[in-house]
């Protein structure tokens, strides 16, 4: 198997609580590439992220998604993760009584498999280094998972987990929301340090701002549950400068959200 990961999505339809949100998404992300999905609220961006990771609330009704040629949709959530898929969530859960460090060590060991567990000391040494580079106070290692973390701390903790788990294919779901400009730069540095031919990245964002720090190769616009326009980095700049209305006019879309034509 090639070491270049590939996430391939074709004709993906998904619904939540009986309401169709995704209406035929086609997208391929390969190792070494950074793709950004932009779009106004309510157009299905986060649904795509959650559906790919396998959140039980979302039901895929048609289409395919594979990672390295393997059927992603047939896998349980933890199997997807162990295949190298990672989702940095918009609203990470808080789990009381479970320490941040123990959780990450357990997650890493699940990935490495029985007999290949990381030695405890080595893990903590590496974790401390990664926390420092993300400007996370090392006391957060012993705190309960996300409990009492501020919005920005949660986001940084997501990137920390990504740095620890070293996924092959990562989706960042609005990782920039709630971050000030300094935190944004730190998070972007953390993400950029992972870039390489064995790492593919899909960034979901409202704003072009994050893309100044994590330069995308491809930019996609989502409306009404599908990708309506793709382009290079210049598309993001154009959206930033002109908003979405010109694109809606061009495409003849009145309401870009998935509630239209529902």
């Amino acid at each position: 198997m090639a070491n270049i990961p590939e996430l391939k999505i074709s004709g993906l339809h998904a619904e939540v609580a009986g309401k169709e949100i995704l209406r035929g998404v086609d997208l391929t992300v390969r190792g070494g590439e950074v793709h950004a999905i932009m779009g106004p609220n309510g157009t299905g961006k986060s649904t795509l992220a959650s559906s790919l990771m396998g959140h039980p609330k979302y039901t895929v009704t048609a289409g395919k998604a594979t990672i390295d040629g393997e059927d992603l949709l047939a896998m349980s959530v933890d199997e997807r993760a162990r295949m190298g898929l990672f989702l940095a969530m918009q609203y990470p859960s808080e789990v009381s009584g479970v320490s941040n460090a123990n959780f990450m060590r357990m997650a890493l060991n699940s990935k490495l498999g029985v007999g290949h567990e990381v030695p405890v000391l080595k893990f903590h040494r590496e974790l401390q280094g990664k926390m420092k580079s993300l400007s996370i106070d090392t006391s957060f290692a012993e705190r309960y998972l996300n409990e009492g973390f501020s919005g920005g701390e949660k986001k940084r903790n997501e990137i920390l987990q990504m740095a620890v788990l070293k996924p092959r294919m990562a989706i960042l779901d609005e990782i920039d929301s709630g971050l000030d400009i300094d935190a944004l730069r730190i998070v972007a540095d953390g993400v950029n340090s992972l870039r390489g031919p064995e790492f593919g990245l899909l960034i979901i964002t409202h704003y072009q701002r994050l893309l100044q720090y994590i330069i995308p190769d491809r930019v996609h616009v989502m409306m009404q549950g599908r990708i309506v326009r793709s382009g290079g980095r210049e598309l993001a700049l154009e959206l930033e400068a002109r908003g979405y209305d010109w694109l809606k006019d061009e495409l003849g879309i009145v309401d870009e959200t998935v509630s239209a034509n529902a």
């Binding site: 990771m53 609330k57 349980s76 959780f103 699940s110």
Partner: protein, 431 residues
């Protein structure tokens, strides 16, 4: 009159048993009176537990086990650590089989011995308090227990003495049918401090067994007592347990309760807050699996002015377990300035189990504060998804969530090995 119904249904005289005990007159009188109550009282009734469907005759008047059996050791192993120096008494099938570390208590005047020993050696102290916290006629099974109690511990902490380490009772029942009737009496004199931990264990192969346990505690003015109590009897056991403290002026009583057995259990624990400014907390963990029935009541009775109580419970139910958790805060007239808080959280791991949280606030005074929070739910879907999205299997993720749910209370159990034993039970039940 002094007769009692046995498992066989035959009626037997308890006098031959009493004759073997060689107890002072007051102690025998206590037993005889209780036996009379047992004969008169109807079977104990509980709102959510129908004992008529259980074998409440799974006991014998005379203990039947032979005194030479060492079967208790393998069962006790995971609950006792002989490396630990803290005082420990082990009772197996109602007889004291191990005593260690108690000599160190003598210089401070602390008494820690079996209750049977205490009725003779410390008769006046025992006579003064026995039956004053849990009346023998409270119900038929308490009456039965008060008549037939096999043994238990007596702990007396003199005025202003502080125990630096916990004292422990481990009670092991090796085979069913004889009746597990353990009775404890704890007196913490004014200004003293101490902690006590008792565990009740039996092998999973235990046959029908009636367990009635009574712990009476008197916490004197300004004294502070902590008690951790763990009950782990298997499915054929019927357990009726009362753990109750009288808390006097400015005194504090802290309960930590682990109900982790698979049997049929009706348990009440809590405090009578008699003294002005008295305080009591209770923290409960209930782990139910199989067909466990748990009818648990944390009861706080506010009698004194400015008395305060805080109770919390965390329950985890799976299999076909059935749990009723009642937080009962009673504030009597005259207890002005009282403050009673309670919270109950129950987690159900599968659809076959059942859990009810019943907060009860009975308030007969105007100038008080009371609060409650109760929730019954399943494992949070988003939490599970989050943990699994990092590669952790569903079973491990559930275990983590449950672990995190009970850990804050588990951490309060005062003896490491017992906490470890409860953790092992949790691991076993989650496997």
């Amino acid at each position: 009159m002094n007769t009692v119904k046995e498992a066989s249904g035959a009626v037997l005289d308890a006098e031959p048993y009493f004759a073997t005990l060689q107890e002072p007159a007051f102690a025998l009188e206590f037993r005889r009176k209780a036996l009379a109550h047992y004969a008169e009282l109807p079977l104990a009734r509980f709102e959510k537990s129908d004992l008529s469907k259980r074998n409440t005759h799974a006991f014998s008047v005379l203990p039947t086990t032979d005194g030479h059996s060492s079967a208790w050791r393998s069962i006790a192993d995971t609950h006792m650590n002989t490396q630990d120096q803290h005082p420990l008494i082990v009772i197996a099938d109602g007889r004291v089989v191990h005593v260690s570390g108690v000599d160190q208590l003598a210089p401070q005047g602390v008494i820690f011995c079996s209750l049977r020993e205490a009725v003779t050696k410390h008769a006046s102290l025992v006579q003064k308090h026995l039956g004053t916290v849990v009346p023998s006629d409270e119900n038929s099974l308490i009456a039965l227990q008060s008549a037939l109690w096999r043994d238990g511990i007596f702990l007396y902490i003199p005025k202003n003495v502080q125990l630096t380490q916990p004292v422990q009772l481990l009670s092991v029942t090796t085979q069913g049918g004889s009746g597990t009737f353990i009775r404890n009496l704890i007196v913490a004199d004014a200004g003293s401090q101490g902690s006590f931990l008792d565990s009740y264990v039996a092998p999973s192969t235990l046959g029908d067994e009636l367990q009635v346990g009574v712990t009476e505690v008197v916490v004197g003015d300004g004294a502070k007592m902590k008690i951790g109590t763990v009950q782990d009897f298997p499915r054929k056991a019927t357990n009726v347990l009362v753990r109750r403290a009288r808390v006097l002026r400015s005194a504090e009583m802290n309960w930590v309760v682990g109900e982790v057995g698979d049997g049929y259990t009706v348990a009440e624990y809590g405090s009578l807050l008699e003294g002005e400014g008295s305080v009591s907390t209770s923290h409960t963990i209930a782990l139910g699996a199989g067909r466990a029935h748990m009818d648990l009541t944390a009861r706080m009775v506010h009698i004194g002015r400015f008395s305060e109580s805080d109770t919390s419970a965390r329950g985890v139910m799976q299999g076909k377990a059935n749990a009723v958790y009642r937080g009962l805060t009673q504030i009597l007239r005259g207890a002005s300035g009282a403050n009673g808080q309670q919270s109950e959280k129950l987690l159900m791991l599968n659809p076959g189990c059942r859990a009810d949280a019943i907060p009860m606030l009975l308030i007969d005074e105007n100038d008080v504060k009371c609060g409650h929070a109760a929730s019954v739910g399943q494992i949070n879907e988003d939490q599970l998804f989050y943990l699994m999205s990092r590669g952790i299997s569903e079973a491990s993720a559930k275990r983590l969530i449950v672990w995190g749910f009970v850990d804050p209370i588990l951490a309060k159990l005062p003896v490491d090995i017992v906490r470890k034993a409860v953790e092992d039970v949790l691991e076993r039940k989650m496997a």
